[in-house]
Assembly symmetry: C2
Homo-oligomer: 382 residues x 2
């Protein structure tokens, strides 16, 4: 996703405006209470804090999960430097060289780097847009399980697909992993970004799977606080948490002020997220309406998160992106997206796909999809 | 080092005061400019920043190194979540399963955990207090090199020994690693804590070793800002830095506000550290004077950092610590140290050694070494 960054600088230098559909950086204001808490911090010495996380934040997280029906102890939570460190830590604890982890594809490309670093291998579960990227199918999952499989990993709501697991689907997956004695790692950082009226769903709410479930959570997307780098690993598997704590002790602790300010975010009223969700839903609908105006495009209305995975009527999304940055503009504007290939483990897949993030305002979404439409036309008529 | 933490809580609950000689948490006030910068941060959205580090901090670090004669480009620096992440990252990039890394022992125990996580093995260079823990000897280092050796790692000024490499010693080590085509990883986070008038020394100042040298640095000790979790990896080896950047991209970025506030620390006047150093020198001398009052003790006056590695006239430091916490007090006071064994890779070594940190005021140092003296007497007369 960073491949076109250097190129973008040159494009900007030519006076071209670039619309960003490539990154999941919310534009929603970070709540004032975060900054107020940062400003009121006044310990004379900015000391190391405990490796597992500060009690104030652990308890804030417990309160949040208590409200959605998942009772947690302090020992069930480890604070990490964002969801990314959580993922890194989990893999380091679970996977040895040659081990396998099952992940529905398309998936967030950084996962692949972390799995490679752990010396392990991703076994992708293929999904398709025509099925809404669904993958909760016993047979389909079991086909991927070998004696080297240690875990299954899923993101729900999904990045990049927007697929949201239903309660029954999640239950089915939990039963499969339990039967095969695997871990289920659930990245739930987009939990609030669901555009129906379903209650908030977490794998932690299901009883009987305590030893299997590991949840990744984060304040980044939920509270528009990506730069705080506050995430967490949550599990009731004591043996796993013991290992994970050792990993945490090894890197001492997570930044003090960010932890305290993150804790304050959890005191926001329950209604805080309603307006945010309303806005994202409007953006999603706007983008869907505009995308369907592009002839030959294939996409599904995502149920959650803030991305569209889109099949474009072009031979190669990478070449299109190159063209859009270097040979094209529409009244001085062009557009940047995330190319689809890195989201796939299966070679050759995703070549004509892109991920579009609707983290910009509706007006900019309309404009940027218009640019994309014109760009595709120009590219195909080259 | 965390082994006695739970025990300590119970001891405190009994009304016993515990003096802490066990942790390297400076008690020096965090400079006001750090907090002023934190408070003036006001971006409406706390966004992700670049994976390699924010330009304001990269340039601050470049300015600092420029003053000690090491010119750096922005691409030579990667900002990390403290020195610990820097170490983690370096090992992940350099070591594969079965590889070896040479480290003079005793060494900081967390290094061993990180090396184990990388699937590699520490080959310790034995040192002795009677030689001031010196290890810059060609033959001694070469004896540790095998075909599996990828790097040598050193901390200067040393934790826990206080050993400070001279310019000639560092040059000798650089020549050995260059000859054998190894990396030299230098943890220089205690660079300012040297109690002679030698100019600041960094492996980055030597020309001709650009491909071998990787430096770990941090604001934690230097500016008493441990809880900011701001460290860095510095190297001019382009291939290594390319790999290291990928690792950084995988965990997105380091906390924004802490990076900006850390940058401000580098604007402190050159004289800032003089008073800090003066205070630590006084503490070191106080501790040395008091320690030599304990019959049968063996220790060397450390040249730098803020620790003493001490051989105690007891059979087992672990047992002594247990005794001091559970069966002993002097007028309601007792003392906590770091047991020596985890600082060694060679089995059986360090059993009667402890690491004492002089990060508390002189008065408390006097009192705690008195307690230690009485505790040892009571323990040996049990």
């Amino acid at each position: 996703m960073l491949k076109f960054s250097a190129m973008e600088e040159r494009v900007k230098a030519r006076g071209i405006k670039v619309y960003h559909l490539n990154i999941g950086q919310p534009d929603v204001k970070t709540p004032q209470i975060f900054y107020d808490t940062v400003r009121s911090f006044s310990a004379p010495v900015l000391e190391y804090v405990s490796s597992n996380g500060m009690p104030v934040l652990l308890d804030a997280v417990r309160g949040y999960y208590g409200k959605i029906g998942a009772e947690l102890g302090r020992d069930d939570i480890l604070v990490t430097a964002g969801g990314s460190e959580a993922f890194q830590l989990i893999l380091a604890c679970l996977l040895d060289d040659g081990d396998e982890i099952i992940i529905p594809e398309p998936y967030y490309p950084n996962y692949a780097t972390s799995v490679a670093l752990a010396g392990a291998k991703i076994v992708p579960i293929p999904t398709s847009p025509s099925e809404g990227y669904a993958y909760a199918d016993k047979e389909r999952i079991e086909k991927c399980i070998t004696e080297k499989t240690k875990a299954m990993f899923l993101t729900s709501p999904g990045n990049p697909t927007g697929n949201v697991l239903s309660e029954n689907e999640l239950k089915l997956i939990l039963d499969v992993v339990k039967e095969h004695e695997l871990f289920l790692i659930c990245d739930e950082v987009y939990r609030e970004f669901v555009y129906s009226d379903e209650p908030l769903l977490s794998a932690l709410q299901f009883k009987g799977y305590e030893d299997n479930v590991i949840v990744i959570d984060s304040v980044s997307k939920r509270f528009s606080a990506c730069g705080a780098r506050i995430g967490m690993v949550i599990s009731r598997n004591e043996k796993f948490m013991e290992q994970a704590l050792k990993w945490c002790q090894c890197r001492l602790c997570v930044a003090t002020i960010d932890q305290i300010a993150a804790a304050a975010l959890y005191t926001l009223p329950d209604g805080y997220f309603d307006a945010v969700k309303e806005e994202y839903k409007k953006r999603r609908d706007t983008m869907y309406r505009k995308l369907t105006e592009i002839p030959g495009i294939k996409c599904t209305l995502p149920a959650g998160a803030f991305y569209f995975m889109v099949t474009l009527p072009v031979d190669d999304a990478d070449c299109l992106q190159n063209f859009l940055l270097n040979e094209f503009d529409d009244n001085g504007d062009t557009v940047l997206f995330a190319c689809g290939e890195p989201f796939y483990g299966t070679p050759g897949k995703g070549k004509n796909e892109v991920r579009l993030a609707y983290t910009i305002c509706c007006e900019d979404i309309e404009r940027s999809v218009d640019i994309l439409k014109k760009g595709i036309e120009a590219y195909n008529n080259k």
